[in-house]
């Protein structure tokens, strides 16, 4: 859970409202905005494994971690709350090749 200035935007993670769990038992995670009555509004359709969602103080942007399956590494995603567009950042690939992060 994360809140922007004065709690105007509250962001949390939860399960997809349509298909929360696959027939094989895999949980489908999504990003949600919680409205002022406490009702969750699903913002994404990623069917992913998500974590660490944080909204910026100005309420414009959400960052979160996502992986394509349980065994994949987490990468950084960005959700623009103005457009509801989700962008992959490629952070994981970038730190793999940067010496200050690899210890090489």
């Amino acid at each position: 859970m994360s809140a922007s200035r004065n709690g105007e935007v509250i962001i949390t993670l939860g399960l997809n409202l349509g298909v929360p769990v696959t027939p094989t038992g895999v949980h489908n995670g999504e990003v949600f905005r919680i409205d002022h009555d406490g009702k969750p509004i699903q913002l994404t359709n990623l069917f992913g494994h998500l974590g660490w969602a944080q909204v910026s103080y100005d309420g414009s942007t959400v960052c979160f971690g996502s992986k394509t399956d349980r065994n994949a590494p987490v990468d950084l995603m960005i959700l623009d709350l103005g457009t509801n567009k989700v962008s992959a950042t490629g952070l994981l690939a970038k730190i793999r090749s940067q010496p200050g992060f690899t210890g090489d």
Binding site: M1, S2, A3, N6, G7, I10, T12, I34, D37, G38, G51, W52, Q54, V55, S56, Y57, D58, S60, T61, V62, C63, F64, G65, P73, V74, D75, L76, I78, S87, T89, G90, L91, L92, K94, I95, R96, Q98, G100, F101, T102, G103, D104
Partner: protein, 199 residues
């Protein structure tokens, strides 16, 4: 294979601070900054013999509150990273228990953090050497509290599980919610935690 964790976004949404770790012959763990629109990546150097964790931006975007985890037997403390110089200043020289999830209080020079000590509570500490103020005693707190968010100078929202407060436990029980479930709480300083939303 590197592992990413503990994302925190700057007040204007431009920069993400993150934790990373990887094994291998030369294992590394620490923090980085990523300007996601430009791809600019910056490593925040760990102070000698210490590992930085759990970053959170100040409201002007110029500092990070972090956990400073020693590799030896020294206590875990809260630190402040100046993003102009990447220098780290420790603000709690001695503390019992394990501090976690430090966040700046808006409009002040204080940091709120979770304190685990036979339960998890909340404390405020002044960055410029002020004394600790207990907001929620650990014995009256929760099994765990995740990173809180301020919604005013003296009010926070947080997700937590395992409340010690019997009134909260009874309300969870009446609602059919497991005591171990993550629930969203609101806490105005000086009061008891309450559910963030009520049906």
């Amino acid at each position: 294979m590197p592992v990413l964790e503990d994302f925190s976004i700057s007040p204007d949404g431009r920069i993400v601070a993150f934790g990373f770790s990887h094994g291998g012959p030369r294992p590394e763990r620490g923090l980085g900054l990523f300007e996601w629109r430009t791809g600019t990546l910056t490593r925040i150097p760990n102070p000698l013999g210490q590992i930085l964790l759990m970053p959170s931006f100040s409201y002007d975007g110029k500092r990070l509150a972090v956990v400073v985890n020693p590799t030896g037997s020294n206590p875990i403390v809260i630190g402040i990273v100046d993003l102009a110089t990447l220098a780290v200043t420790n603000v709690i020289p001695e503390t019992s228990g394990a501090p976690s999830f430090p966040v700046f209080q808006p409009g002040s020079d204080r940091v709120l953090y979770c304190q685990r000590e036979f339960g998890t509570g909340l404390k405020l500490v002044g960055i410029s050497g002020g004394h600790n103020v207990t907001i929620l005693p650990p014995k009256n707190g929760f099994v765990y509290i995740l990173r809180p968010s301020f919604v005013s100078v003296d009010e926070i929202l947080f997700q937590a599980a395992g409340p010690a407060d019997r009134k909260i436990v009874a309300e969870l029980d009446r609602s059919g919610i497991s005591i171990g479930a993550d629930v969203l709480y609101r806490l105005r300083f000086g009061n008891r935690p309450d559910f963030c939303f009520r049906a």
